[in-house]
C-alpha cells in the first residue's frame, strides 16, 4: 500500500487527536495573532459610540448555554462599552434554557466592575415565552409583557423603568444570539418600530446576516468568536475571544493543510487507478 493509499484510509480519530493537540498546546505555549477589525464590527462599535450618554439600550441574551464560547465574549465586550459610556442597559432573553441566568451573571459581574446600581443603571427583565408576542408587545408596553423583572420586583419599583415604557424610549438594540430570533428582531422590531438593531451572532449564522447589514436593516454585525474578538479589540478589553482566536487560527492552518493533503491523496489515488 502506497503512502497516498494509507492517507486515504487514515482513521479519522488521528485527525481528532491532531485537532485536540492543536487546541491544548496554546494553553501552555500561548499563540497570538493580530486581529483585523471588519467594517461590520466597526459599524456596530461606531453606532454605540455615537449614542448619547445615559440613554437606554436594550441588550438581549438570546443564547443557549452551548454557544457561550461565542456569545458570552460578545455580551461582555458590549457591556464594557455600554457601561463605560454610562449608558443604561435593559437586558432580556427569549431563550428559557440558561438565557435568564447568563444575563443575570454576566450583567451583574460587569456592573460591579463599573459600580453600576441595579434598578438605576441596569435592569434584567428575564424571560417570557412566545417571542413573537414579546417582540411585538414591547413596542406598545414593556410592563404588559414584563410586569416584573427577573427577580419578581414590579417594574414600578425600579427607577430606570419609570421612563422606559416601550421601544420608543430606547436608542438602540444590541442583540446577542445563537439562533434565528435575529430575523424577528429585524423583521418585527426594526422594520415596524424603526429602532436600530445591531447584532452579535454565532459563526454558523453570520453569512446570512450580512444581507441585513448590506440592506441597512442591521447596524453592524459580529460573527462568531472572530466578531467577539474584534469587539474586544475595539473596546480594548482583550479576553476569552482574543485568546481563543489564537487557537482558532492554528486550527484553521491545520485544517487547510489537512484539506490539501486529503485532496492530493484523492487525486493521486485516482491517477493510479486510471493508470491501472
Amino acid at each position: 500500500m502506497s503512502f497516498w493509499d494509507r492517507i486515504s484510509r487514515l482513521d479519522r480519530r488521528w485527525i481528532y487527536l491532531l485537532v485536540w493537540l492543536t487546541v491544548i498546546t496554546p494553553l501552555f505555549l500561548p499563540a497570538t495573532f493580530p486581529i483585523s477589525v471588519t467594517p461590520e464590527a466597526r459599524q456596530l462599535y461606531d453606532a454605540v459610540q455615537a449614542l448619547p450618554d445615559s440613554c437606554v439600550v436594550l441588550l438581549t441574551f438570546d443564547t443557549y448555554p452551548n454557544a457561550l464560547a461565542e456569545t458570552e465574549p460578545m455580551a461582555r465586550a458590549a457591556l464594557h462599552h455600554l457601561f463605560r459610556k454610562h449608558i443604561r442597559v435593559v437586558t432580556l432573553t427569549t431563550i428559557p434554557l440558561g438565557g435568564p441566568s447568563i444575563a443575570e451573571r454576566v450583567t451583574r459581574e460587569l456592573a460591579a466592575t463599573y459600580r453600576k446600581t441595579y434598578g438605576v443603571d441596569f435592569v434584567n427583565l428575564g424571560y417570557k415565552p412566545n417571542y413573537v408576542s414579546v417582540l411585538k408587545g414591547l413596542g406598545t408596553s414593556i410592563e404588559s409583557i414584563y410586569p416584573t423583572d427577573n427577580s419578581g420586583t414590579p417594574l414600578a419599583q425600579l427607577p430606570l423603568m419609570q421612563n422606559v415604557k416601550s421601544y420608543s424610549d430606547m436608542k438602540f438594540i444590541f442583540v446577542v444570539t445563537d439562533n434565528g430570533i435575529i430575523d424577528y428582531w429585524i423583521s418585527i422590531v426594526n422594520a415596524q418600530f424603526k429602532i436600530p438593531v445591531g447584532a452579535g451572532v454565532t459563526a454558523v449564522m453570520a453569512p446570512k446576516q450580512y444581507a441585513y447589514v448590506g440592506s441597512g436593516q442591521m447596524t453592524g454585525l459580529l460573527g462568531g468568536m472572530k466578531g467577539a474578538a474584534e469587539y474586544e479589540e475595539l473596546v480594548d478589553k482583550h479576553a476569552l475571544a482574543t485568546r481563543g482566536m489564537g487557537i482558532q487560527s492554528l486550527i484553521h492552518i491545520l485544517l487547510i493543510v489537512l484539506i490539501g493533503i486529503g485532496n492530493l491523496a484523492y487525486f493521486m489515488g485516482r491517477r493510479k487507478r486510471g493508470a491501472a
Partner: protein
C-alpha cells in the same frame, strides 16, 4: 468556591468528557450523557411551560385579574391533546387552525416588511464600502442575485443564454456554500475551545 459549586463543575466536566468520548467510539458513557441531556431538557421545558404559560398567563389572569375570556385559548390548548386519542384527533384541528391563522397573520406583515421589501430595497441601492459607493460590488450583487434566481427557474430547459446564466448562478451558490462552510468550521471549533477552556480553567482549577 463552595462545595456545591465544585460538585457542579465536576459534574459538568464528567458530562463533557463523556460526550467527547464518542470521538473514540460509541460507548455507554456517551449514551448515558446523551440520555441525561435529553431527559433533563424535556423535563425542564415541561416545568417551564407549566409555570410561564399555564400558571402565569392563564391561571393567574383568570383567577386573580378576572380575565375570564382567557379560558377560550386555554380550552383550545387542551384540545391539542386530542391527538393522543384517535377518536378525539379532530378536536386538535381547532387549536391548530387558530395557531396557523394567527401565525400567518403576524408573519405576513413582518416577512413583507423585513425580508421581501427590505431585501429588495437593499439590492436596488448602490452598495457602500466604508461609507463610499462601490459600483463593482453593486454589479456583483445584481448579477449574483439574477443568476441565482435563474438557476432556480425550472420552467424552461437550462440551455443557451439561460444555461450560461444558470451556470454563473451555480458559481455564486458555491461561493455562498463555501462561506457557510468556513463559518461553520469556525463556529464548531469555537465551541470546542469553549469546552477546553472550561476543562482547563474551571475543572482543573478546582484541583489547584
Amino acid at each position: 468556591m463552595s462545595g456545591w459549586e465544585v460538585f457542579q463543575i465536576w459534574l459538568g466536566a464528567f458530562l463533557t468528557v463523556a460526550i467527547f468520548s464518542f470521538m473514540y467510539k460509541d460507548n455507554p458513557l456517551y449514551k448515558a450523557a446523551e440520555h441525561i441531556f435529553a431527559g433533563i431538557t424535556a423535563g425542564y421545558y415541561v416545568a417551564l411551560y407549566l409555570d410561564t404559560v399555564v400558571y402565569q398567563q392563564l391561571w393567574v389572569p383568570v383567577t386573580h385579574n378576572g380575565r375570564v375570556w382567557l379560558i377560550i385559548p386555554g380550552i383550545l390548548g387542551i384540545f391539542m391533546f386530542g391527538r393522543l386519542w384517535p377518536k378525539l384527533t379532530w378536536l386538535a384541528r381547532f387549536g391548530l387552525a387558530f395557531i396557523m391563522g394567527t401565525t400567518a397573520g403576524v408573519f405576513l406583515a413582518s416577512e413583507l416588511h423585513g425580508n421581501v421589501l427590505g431585501q429588495m430595497s437593499g439590492t436596488m441601492q448602490i452598495q457602500q464600502v466604508a461609507g463610499q459607493p462601490n459600483y463593482v460590488l453593486t454589479a456583483l450583487v445584481v448579477i449574483g442575485l439574477l443568476a441565482t434566481l435563474i438557476y432556480f427557474y425550472f420552467s424552461k430547459p437550462h440551455t443557451g443564454v439561460l444555461g450560461v446564466t444558470a451556470s454563473v448562478g451555480i458559481w455564486f451558490i458555491m461561493v455562498s456554500f463555501g462561506a457557510h462552510f468556513g463559518y461553520t468550521v469556525m463556529g464548531r471549533v469555537s465551541l470546542l475551545i469553549g469546552r477546553v477552556y472550561f476543562l482547563y480553567n474551571d475543572w482543573i482549577g478546582t484541583m489547584r
